[in-house]
C-alpha cells in the first residue's frame, strides 16, 4: 500500500513534532486565553477532554458554557450524561444555550453511565457530550476511557469527562486533561496532559463574583429596598467565567505569558475566616 504511511500519520493519536497545531480539529473554548494555550486553539474534537474538579461550584460547568452555547446555536446536540444536579434552565439559557438542543440522560449505575456516554459519543456526529464520572461509583479504568476515546473519535465529538482529582494519578488515553482549582478571584487551570504542548502549563480565568461584598447582615438590611426579582447590579459579570483580560492579572505578565509554563505555585485562596 503506497499511501499507508501518510494515512497512518493522519491518525489523531499520533502527534508529530513538526506538525502545526492548527491542523488539529478543535472547538473554540470561548476563553481567548485558553484558546491561545490549547493546541489548535480550542477544545480537541474527536478526542476526550478530562476535567479534574476537586470541588463543585468553582465554575466547572461555566468553563464549558460558551462552547455549549456555540454548539447548540449551530444546531449541534449537547448531551449531558448524569450531571450531579439539574442545570438550571433559565441560567444556562441565559448563557446562550439553545435548550431545544440539550439532552439530559440519567442512569442508575456506573456501568450504564459509561455505556450511555459511549452511545452518546457514537450516536450522532458532531456536537458535545458531557459526562460526570465522579464519586466512588465511578472507577472508570483505562480500558473504559479508551472505549470512550474511540467513540469520541468515531463521532467527531467534543467529549468532556468530569472526574475527581484522584484521577490525576491514573494514566489516560484522553487528549487533554485539565485540573481545575479555585482561587479567590480566578479559576486556575493546569494542563496535566495535552497533546502538542508542554504539560504543566497553567492558565487563569476570572471567576465570577470575584470581589467580596458586604457582610450578609448588612446586605440583608439593605435588601428591603430592592425588590426587583430578576435584577442584578449593572456591570457585574455574569455568573460564568469572565475573560482574564483586566489589568489586575494579565498586567503582571507579557501578552505571551499565559501560554508559558507558570512556574509559580497556585495562588493560595485568599485568607478568610
Amino acid at each position: 500500500m503506497p499511501n499507508a504511511l501518510p494515512r497512518a500519520l493522519q491518525h489523531p493519536l499520533l502527534w508529530q513534532g513538526s506538525r502545526r497545531h492548527d491542523r488539529i480539529p478543535t472547538l473554540p473554548t470561548g476563553h481567548a486565553r485558553l484558546d491561545r494555550t490549547l493546541p489548535g486553539g480550542g477544545w480537541p474534537l474527536g478526542a476526550l477532554t478530562e476535567l479534574l474538579v476537586p470541588r463543585d461550584g468553582v465554575g466547572e460547568l461555566s468553563l464549558l458554557l460558551p462552547t455549549l452555547a456555540r454548539v447548540t446555536r449551530e444546531g449541534g446536540w449537547a448531551v449531558l450524561v448524569d450531571p450531579p444536579w439539574t442545570p438550571y434552565p433559565p441560567a444556562i439559557h441565559g448563557q446562550g444555550i439553545d435548550l431545544e438542543r440539550l439532552v439530559m440522560v440519567s442512569t442508575q449505575d456506573a456501568k450504564a453511565s459509561l455505556w450511555a456516554c459511549e452511545q452518546a459519543l457514537r450516536g450522532v456526529r458532531g456536537g458535545v457530550v458531557l459526562s460526570w464520572l465522579r464519586g466512588r461509583r465511578h472507577r472508570a479504568g483505562f480500558a473504559h476511557l479508551r472505549r470512550l476515546q474511540l467513540a469520541a473519535r468515531s463521532g467527531r465529538k467534543g467529549a468532556f469527562l468530569f472526574r475527581g482529582p484522584e484521577a490525576a494519578g491514573q494514566s489516560t488515553p484522553a487528549a487533554l486533561r485539565l485540573h481545575l482549582e479555585a482561587g479567590e478571584r480566578d479559576l486556575h487551570l493546569t494542563l496535566l496532559k495535552c497533546r502538542g504542548t508542554h504539560q504543566g502549563v497553567r492558565v487563569r480565568l476570572h471567576r465570577a463574583h470575584g470581589a467580596p461584598c458586604p457582610a450578609p447582615e448588612a446586605a440583608g438590611r439593605r435588601s428591603a429596598a430592592s425588590a426587583r426579582p430578576d435584577s442584578h447590579p449593572p456591570g457585574r459579570p455574569s455568573d460564568g467565567l469572565s475573560e482574564g483580560s483586566s489589568g489586575r492579572h494579565s498586567g503582571t505578565r507579557s501578552g505571551k505569558a499565559s501560554t508559558q509554563p507558570d512556574t509559580r505555585g497556585p495562588v493560595p485562596p485568599a485568607g478568610h475566616a
Binding site: W85, Y88, G94, V105, D239
Partner: protein, 473 residues
C-alpha cells in the same frame, strides 16, 4: 425479455422449523415424525440425531431406543404452510413475481427481470440459499428457463441459464430427476427406460395413452413446449412467526440468537413488501406462564442491525422469571416506508442527515423512557418552580436569567450563613401567594471556605431561615 426462473426448495422445512431455535444443533438431537397415529415414523433428523444413528423413515420407537435424549415432535403442515408464506414475502425483495408451491415445499421466483439489478440468476440462487441458512432454513436453489426446469435444477443442484443448458442437462439426467408420481416412474422403469432423454424421444401420443396426459403435460412444461403460467402470490399485511426453543433458555441475553432470526425474517419480509414497522411485539412462552416485550420505534423502520441493537439493549434489563420454551414475533401493522438514502450523496456534517432518533431509541430501550429528557422553563418567580423536564418533542421555551447559578439543588438545604461570605446580593423574590406557595426570599451569592460559590437565600416566610439553593458551577 428472457425469462429465468429461480426455484427454492426446502427439503428439511419441517425439521428447520423445529431446529432453527436450537442454538446447539450439533449437540441436541431433534427429529420430526410424520404424526401417524398408529405407527409414527421419522420424517427427518438433525445432525446431532443422525450422528447417533437416527435416520429418516425409522419408527419413532426405534429411534428413541437408539438415542435416549432424542426430542421428537410431530410435523405440523399448517406451520409449514405459514412458513412458506413468510418466506415468499421474504423473497419478494429479490423478485417481482413469487409463487408458492406448498405441496412441494417450493418457492418459485421469476428472476430474469431482476438480473440487471441483482446479477445473474446463478449468483442470486447462491445468495438466497446462504441468506436463508442464516435465518435457519435449508434451501436448495436452482435456476432454469421454465418453472419446472428450475425446480428440477434446484433438486439436482444445477443452474440452467437457458434452453440449451436445459436440453444438455436433460440428455444426461436419469429418470429419477423428473418430478413425476412414483407410480409413473415405476411404469417407465418397467418399460426399460433409465434416462430422461429416452422418454423425451417417445411419440407424445403413445406416451399419453400409456401414462396419462398429465405426464405429457409435465414434459411439455419442463421443456417449454407449453406455457406454464404461475399463480401470483399476494403480499401479506402483517407478520407473525415463532419458534420452539428445544433447549430452554433462561438468560435473556441467550434469547438474542433465536430473536435475531425472527427479526431477520421480518426485515426481509418488510423489504419484500417495501414496508416498515413501528411496533414489534415479542411473546415468550415460559415453562409456566408467559412474558411480553414490546419494542417501539420513533419512525417506521426495517433496519435489521438497528432493531437487533435495540432489542439487545432492551433485553439487558429484561428479567425472565422462568426459562423460555417458545418465542414469537408479531408485527401487526405494516407502514409505508421511506427508505432513507444510505450513504450516497449525504453530507455527514449535515444535521438533517444525522438524526438523533436512533440514539434516543437506544438509550430509552436500555435506560427507560424517563431517563432521556430535555429541559424547559416555567413561568414562576420561585426558582424551584421555574423549570421542568420536557419530552424532547415538546417545545423548550424559557426565560433567560444569565446571573442565576447553573446548578439548582433538587430542594433547598438549610445552612448557617456564618459559614459563608456574601459576594453579591440581595435579589428579592416574592411570589406565589395566588397558588398557596406564598413566599418571600432574599437571594445572595456566597462563597464557602473551600472556595465554592453558592446561591443562598434568606426566607422570611413561610419558613424563616437561611437556605442553600444552587451552585455556580
Amino acid at each position: 425479455m428472457k425469462q429465468t426462473w429461480l426455484a427454492l426448495q426446502f427439503p428439511h422445512l419441517a425439521l428447520d422449523l423445529l431446529n432453527r431455535g436450537n442454538a446447539r444443533p450439533r449437540d441436541l438431537p431433534l427429529a420430526v415424525s410424520d404424526g401417524d397415529a398408529r405407527r409414527p415414523a421419522l420424517l427427518d433428523a438433525n445432525p446431532a440425531a443422525r450422528r447417533l444413528g437416527v435416520r429418516a423413515g425409522m419408527p419413532v420407537s426405534a429411534a428413541r431406543g437408539l438415542a435416549g435424549a432424542l426430542q421428537v415432535s410431530d410435523r405440523d403442515p399448517s406451520l409449514e404452510a405459514r412458513a412458506l408464506d413468510r418466506l415468499a414475502a421474504w423473497s419478494y425483495q429479490y423478485s417481482s413475481a413469487v409463487s408458492v408451491l406448498a405441496e412441494r415445499h417450493t418457492l418459485l421466483l421469476e428472476s430474469g427481470g431482476s438480473e440487471r439489478l441483482l446479477g445473474d440468476s446463478a449468483a442470486l440462487a447462491e445468495r438466497l440459499a446462504s441468506e436463508l441458512l442464516a435465518l435457519g432454513y435449508h434451501a436448495r436453489a436452482g435456476t432454469g428457463p421454465t418453472p419446472e426446469a428450475a425446480q428440477l435444477a434446484a433438486r439436482r443442484g444445477l443452474q440452467l441459464p437457458d434452453r440449451d443448458a436445459l436440453h444438455g442437462a436433460l440428455r444426461e439426467l436419469p429418470l429419477e430427476a423428473l418430478l413425476i408420481e412414483p407410480e409413473q416412474r415405476a411404469a417407465l422403469e418397467r418399460m426399460g427406460f433409465r434416462h430422461v432423454r429416452e422418454v423425451l424421444r417417445l411419440p407424445r401420443k403413445a406416451l399419453a395413452r400409456r401414462l396419462g396426459t398429465a405426464m405429457v403435460d409435465y414434459l411439455d412444461r419442463l421443456t417449454g413446449a407449453r406455457p406454464d403460467p404461475q399463480r401470483p402470490w399476494r403480499l401479506p399485511e402483517a407478520f407473525a412467526s415463532g419458534m420452539d426453543l428445544p433447549a430452554e433458555v433462561s438468560s435473556s441475553q441467550a434469547l438474542i440468537f433465536p430473536l435475531r432470526r425472527l427479526v431477520g425474517e421480518l426485515c426481509g419480509v418488510l423489504r419484500g413488501c417495501d414496508r416498515g414497522v413501528q411496533t414489534l411485539d415479542f411473546h415468550f412462552t415460559l415453562r409456566r406462564g408467559e412474558e411480553r416485550l414490546q419494542l417501539g420505534l420513533q419512525q417506521p423502520g426495517r433496519d435489521e442491525q438497528h432493531l437487533v441493537q435495540l432489542l439487545k439493549e432492551r433485553l439487558e434489563r429484561f428479567r425472565l422469571p422462568q426459562p423460555v420454551r417458545h418465542v414469537a414475533l408479531r408485527a401487526d401493522e405494516f407502514i409505508a416506508f421511506d427508505a432513507a438514502p444510505t450513504g450516497l450523496f449525504v453530507d455527514p456534517g449535515d444535521p438533517g442527515s444525522n438524526p438523533l432518533e436512533p440514539l434516543l431509541e437506544r438509550l430509552r430501550a436500555r435506560l427507560g423512557e424517563e431517563a432521556v429528557t430535555g429541559l424547559r422553563g416555567v413561568e414562576d418567580h420561585r426558582p424551584e418552580y421555574s423549570w421542568a423536564r420536557r419530552r424532547l418533542d415538546e417545545p423548550a421555551e424559557c426565560r433567560a436569567m444569565p446571573h442565576r447559578p447553573v446548578w439548582l439543588f433538587p430542594r433547598p438545604q438549610r445552612c448557617r450563613i456564618e459559614d459563608y461570605r456574601v459576594l453579591a446580593g440581595p435579589e428579592r423574590i416574592e411570589s406565589g401567594w395566588w397558588d398557596g406557595g406564598d413566599c418571600r426570599r432574599d437571594y445572595f451569592v456566597v462563597r464557602d471556605r473551600e472556595g465554592s460559590t453558592l446561591w443562598a437565600y434568606r426566607e422570611y416566610k413561610p419558613r424563616p431561615g437561611w437556605y442553600l439553593h444552587g451552585l455556580f458551577g
